[in-house]
């Protein structure tokens, strides 16, 4: 008997459609069209589409979703896949990297990192750090810091001595000439983040865990 190419399984969150990942794509499309047209579904159901180890182009993925959603009974709420391309993987890894720069970032110098960066040294005025993720300066931050440069509004800029001239997080810019009282009074151990109103705020490093719980990747009691 021919193997079933489309498995349907009901769960309390809706249907899971598991697609065979070994057969030809065209066969899969035909089988899926047949299964979907059989009907037998009342109302609208949420569907999770599980692609297994098959790699699909974006337009193929869309084609399958269209087939499933066409009769108007099912809505694909999630697409699961066990595979990503090398490029996607590299991009992900880079974003998760934490670079370390040891030295002084001097006037006119720009240090860039795809993910987080730790600077062991000072960032002098007119020196600049640009990171896709967070920026942590172990010395004095007296220059310019741009965290979340690709648009990550969760990113923070933290420094042992927080005295930057400019702080950027994602697309939000803060010029420090109109110094905030908290920065003026305690330049030590501060960090900058985008608050709920969408503006850059500052707080003590101790508050980082509360304000950005996801920063923490280590347990501990």
């Amino acid at each position: 008997m021919k193997n079933q190419l489309v498995h349907m399984k009901g769960t309390k969150d809706g249907l899971v459609l598991r697609l065979d990942d070994q057969c030809a794509y065209q066969d899969l499309v035909e089988e899926l069209e047949r299964k979907v047209s059989e009907g037998g579904i009342d109302g609208r159901v949420n569907v999770s589409l599980d692609l297994g180890y098959r790699y699909l182009l974006e337009q193929q993925k869309q084609e399958l979703i269209n087939i499933i959603e066409h009769p108007g009974k099912m809505v694909v709420s999630k697409v699961l896949s066990n595979v990503i391309t090398v490029d996607e993987n590299n991009a992900k890894m880079q974003g998760n990297l934490c670079d370390t720069y040891v030295g002084i970032v001097r006037s006119g110098q720009v240090i860039q990192a795809p993910g987080d960066i730790i600077v062991i040294g000072d960032v002098n005025p007119n020196g600049k750090i640009e990171a896709g993720g967070n920026i942590f300066v172990m010395g004095k931050l007296k220059g310019i810091a741009h965290a979340g440069i690709g648009g990550d509004r969760e990113a923070i800029v933290a420094a042992s001595w927080f005295e930057p001239t400019h702080v950027y997080i994602a697309d939000v810019i803060e010029v420090m000439s109109n110094e905030k009282p908290i920065v003026k009074e305690h330049a030590e151990q501060l960090f900058a983040y985008i608050n709920k109103e969408g503006n850059i705020s500052y707080d003590r490093l101790q508050e980082a865990r509360k304000i950005r719980p996801l920063l923490n990747t280590k347990g501990g009691s």
Binding site: I104, R106, S107, G108, G127
Partner: protein
């Protein structure tokens, strides 16, 4: 990166020097103009010559030469650096001897009229290497800025001295230049803080020595007080370092000794105000 905790010596090049039996070329630079590069070159050159070293000063400020004036050698110039590079004369014909320090101090003057792009970094390197064969120290006076003139000046250098004054703008430019120098294959740059005025520092109107050195975090080679006799002596064409009793002169002499590898404590300001400025003292006795 350069730390601050190395011994107060400049002679880390000496091993190489002994092996190859050539001199050391030191470029004197700053980024900002008017902070005292030319004054420093003239005085350190003279001080090293007074210590018995054979020294050649090279003025690379093409189009704006004035090292010859500060040394009082301007009316003896026949050929200049560009003449040498372009083969119109031999190096020896262009060198001007300073008769005050018997046979020890020479100047290779800059061209006054030529366009400053007349010389390339490769040509400069060749020239400096040739001078290093004959002189123990080749001091290169760098023009202001970080363009072609600067690149020419650093091309042949083994080490660099960065001159700043206690002003924020000068310190900023020094920081920029240090960043550029750290990318070159030369020894970590060392710092001279020029035109230090204790009254301004005490009033908080100028950055203090500690602030400047921690900000720039390179080794401090010495400080030179602000002293009007420096200007007068430059105008006379006689470097202040010839006057053994002047405070700025003492600063230059101490720096020359540090370059020669002696460890001379930094105490120029402290001496003048014993016990009064405890804070300053603690900085200088670090």
């Amino acid at each position: 990166m350069t730390g601050c905790r190395k011994p107060e010596k400049y002679g880390h090049y000496s091993t190489l020097k002994e092996v190859a039996n050539v001199g050391e070329a030191i470029v004197i630079t700053s980024g900002k103009g008017g902070v005292g590069k030319t004054t420093t070159a003239a005085n350190l050159g003279t001080a090293l010559a007074l210590q018995g070293k054979k020294v050649c000063l090279v003025d690379t400020d093409i189009g704006l030469r004035n090292l010859d004036l500060v040394l009082g050698l301007d009316n003896r110039i026949i050929y200049d650096l560009v003449d040498v590079v372009e083969g119109r004369c031999k190096i020896h014909q262009a060198l001007v001897k300073d008769k005050r320090v018997d046979d020890k101090l020479y100047l290779l003057p800059a061209a006054q009229t030529t366009d400053k792009n007349a010389v390339t970094p490769e040509q400069m390197k060749e020239l400096i290497n040739e001078l290093k064969r004959e002189f123990e120290y080749v001091l290169i006076d760098c023009p202001a800025g970080i363009e072609q003139g600067y690149r020419n000046a650093i091309a042949g250098a083994d080490s660099a001295i960065v001159v700043t004054t206690p002003e924020i703008s000068a310190v900023r430019d020094a920081d920029r230049v240090i960043g550029l120098l750290e990318k070159e294959e030369i020894n970590p740059p060392k710092l001279i803080i020029n035109r230090v005025r204790k009254d301004l520092i005490n009033q908080g109107d100028a950055m203090n020595i500690n602030e400047i050195t921690t900000h720039l975090s390179i080794d401090l080679l010495g400080i030179i007080v602000d002293n009007e006799d420096v200007i007068a002596s430059s105008n006379k064409g006689e470097p202040i370092v010839m006057d053994p009793n002047n405070k700025a002169s003492l600063g230059y002499r101490n720096i020359a000794r540090r370059i020669l590898g002696e460890s001379v404590p930094l105490m120029t300001l402290e001496e003048e105000h014993k016990g009064v400025f405890k804070k300053l003292m603690s900085i200088f006795s670090r």
